[in-house]
């Protein structure tokens, strides 16, 4: 199960040149600033833009190479645009049926009722697109896409047109999609919080090139290429709610290598969650520390030290169990603690953001 995508394309003032091997499952985020070519790459994958040289193999099936170009409507993909692009002349129900009705019975793997239920749009079916809010429109667009039973789901900043409140409402639907449907997703975004919440794999893009491509956690912990998801370097770890302390409103989440106390987000025990730990919130000690307000103190081991933005600072890559972690400390502190690869230390984690 994999996705091989190689595209070269030249526009005046912009060129795209990527050669990627992506997982054939889970969510791959194409992350980078505006104008870096994320959307262009996605459009090339869909066949909406035609690259001068391109090759796309989706789970063993060649959609495009030097000799063949399968037109968009013959590619079993789903595409969610920034704007929902619903058909204004059709009711929501007819919008949903548009792709479905063009699919052979045997090829229909997503039930109408299922898509409607998954996206929470049952009450909108008889309405027209013009009367819907941005978030509702985008949910309809996603359901409409799912109903074509795509073997690859391409999403181009589906939340870009929504305001912060709508985004908050919308993200859970995407998470459900991620959790319940086994469709590989390529998700274009420049929003760090969407990457942190949704991505399993990340491709970092800049000026038409892919700077890095790899599993989210490992890629975020790279020292040679500190990727700022927003304001600061940090990692995102997958975890499971293991315990809830109702008295102090805390939850213990277990990850591969230990567990952390975080603010209780209301998730039930056993629920998969993600935690985001920024490098600036991680301190390093040579021995476990007593009498300190910081509650999360875990044994770790130093992997490497790397440059940081300021000459006074360095980034330490550590691992706790099998999970990587980044810590920002001053060079003087690193020197004083004589931090070196392989050294066992304790990490003090001041803040953990629970996402999703």
């Amino acid at each position: 199960m994999s996705l091989q995508a190689r595209f070269e394309l030249d526009y005046p003032g912009f060129s795209l040149d990527v050669d990627l091997e992506l997982p054939g499952q889970g969510v791959t985020a194409l992350f980078g600033p505006s104008g870096c070519g994320k959307t262009t790459l996605l459009r090339c994958m869909a066949g909406l833009s035609r690259a001068s040289a391109g090759r796309l193999v989706v789970n063993g099936e060649t959609w495009q190479d030097a000799n063949a170009f399968r037109p968009v409507h013959l590619r079993p993909l789903g595409y969610v645009f920034q704007e929902a692009n619903l058909f204004a002349h059709l009711s929501i129900r007819r919008n949903l049926e548009y792709g479905l009705s063009r699919l052979a019975q045997a090829a229909r793997r997503v039930q109408f009722e299922r898509a409607v239920e998954l996206l929470g749009i049952a009450h909108l079916l008889e309405r027209r697109p013009a009367g819907l809010s941005g978030g509702e429109r985008q949910r309809v667009a996603i359901a409409r896409t799912l109903l074509t039973s795509p073997r690859l789901l391409l999403m181009d900043e589906p939340l870009a047109a929504l305001d912060a409140a709508r985004k908050g409402e919308f993200l859970p639907y995407l998470e459900r999609l991620h959790a319940e449907l086994d469709i590989p997703v390529v998700y274009v975004t420049h929003a760090p919080d969407e990457v942190a919440r949704l991505a399993d794999h990340i491709v970092v893009m800049k000026a038409g090139r892919a700077l890095a491509s790899g599993p989210l956690t490992e890629t975020l912990a790279r020292l040679d290429l500190p990727i700022r998801l927003g304001e600061d370097a940090g990692v995102v770890l997958g975890a499971v709610v293991a315990e809830r302390d109702t008295h102090w409103h805390l939850a213990r989440v277990a990850f591969d290598g230990g567990s952390l106390w975080v603010r209780d987000g209301g998730q039930p025990i056993g629920a998969p969650v993600r935690v985001r730990i920024l490098a600036r919130d991680v301190g390093i000690a040579l021995a476990p520390v007593q009498g300190i307000s910081i509650q999360n103190c875990l044994p770790a081991s130093v992997d490497a030290l790397g440059e940081d933005g300021h000459a006074a600072l360095c980034l330490a890559r550590l691992h706790v169990g099998r999970s990587p972690l980044l810590a920002r400390v001053t060079r003087r502190a690193a020197h004083a603690l004589a931090l070196a690869p392989g050294q066992p230390v304790w990490v003090l984690i001041k803040a953990v953001a629970l996402i999703g």
Binding site: L48, H73, G78, F81, N85, F87, A88, H89, Y98, R102
Partner: protein, 222 residues
């Protein structure tokens, strides 16, 4: 009302109806191409389509007459094809009217197609619709108001023409004499009462047509 007047009205209605149908059939692909193509020819074709809008109808009619006359290349062609000569026939009137009213049909259609943009069509493609399928299932319905405008303007403009049909048709009662020429004949004969009946009818018809078009526009604005 005189028989010749009734004949002129019937002929005009028939001419306008046939012309409108021909124009919609021809104008739709032309407008689609003008709205969507990035070809260099687009400017030239766009200018040619718009030419009848600025050209004096007499000029257009004169050249059509020359072109399609017995000595013109068009005339030789129609004769070779066994169609005979087009000037002073209903076929000739239709041809002249189609050219004369072309911009009135192509431009609203072109604007309607351009307004759809590429987004809806791209969405259709990703939902498994072939380009032809998407044209009929998405572009045509979304452009429907443009089609109404185009049909009404094309029809009304054909009803109102004079110079071109005078040149090409030659004012033959019952055969090529359309309404505007019947009015002209009445005025020439100083029969103002008959001229009034026809001219007043035309005035009312034109106003009703425009009311239909703009009235729709008003209703749609919230």
């Amino acid at each position: 009302m005189q028989d010749s007047d009734l004949a002129a009205i019937a002929l005009t209605a028939r001419l306008a109806a046939v012309t409108t149908v021909v124009l919609l059939l021809l104008g739709t692909p032309l407008a689609w191409w003008l709205a969507r193509s990035s070809s260099r020819l687009k400017g030239v074709v766009g200018a040619l389509v718009t030419l009848p809008l600025v050209l004096p109808p007499a000029v257009l009619g004169f050249y059509l007459l020359v072109l399609l006359g017995p000595e013109g290349p068009g005339g030789r062609l129609t004769q070779a094809l066994g169609l005979g000569l087009l000037p002073f026939t209903f076929g000739g009137l239709v041809l002249a009217s189609v050219i004369y009213s072309l911009p009135f049909v192509v431009q609203p259609l072109q604007q309607a197609f351009a307004a759809i943009g590429s987004e809806a069509l791209e969405a259709a493609a990703t939902l498994r619709a072939s380009p032809t399928d998407a044209f009929f299932s998405v572009a045509l319905p979304l452009a429907a108001p443009g089609f109404l405008t185009a049909a009404v303007l094309g029809f009304a403009h054909t009803v109102g023409e004079f110079g071109v049909v005078l040149m090409m048709g030659g004012n033959i009662p019952g055969k090529t004499q359309v309404l505007s020429m019947a009015i002209y004949n009445h005025v020439e004969a100083l029969d103002y009462a008959s001229a009034h009946r026809l001219a007043g009818g035309m005035l009312a018809f034109s106003f009703a047509v425009l009311l239909l078009l703009y009235g729709r526009g008003w209703r749609r604005t919230p």
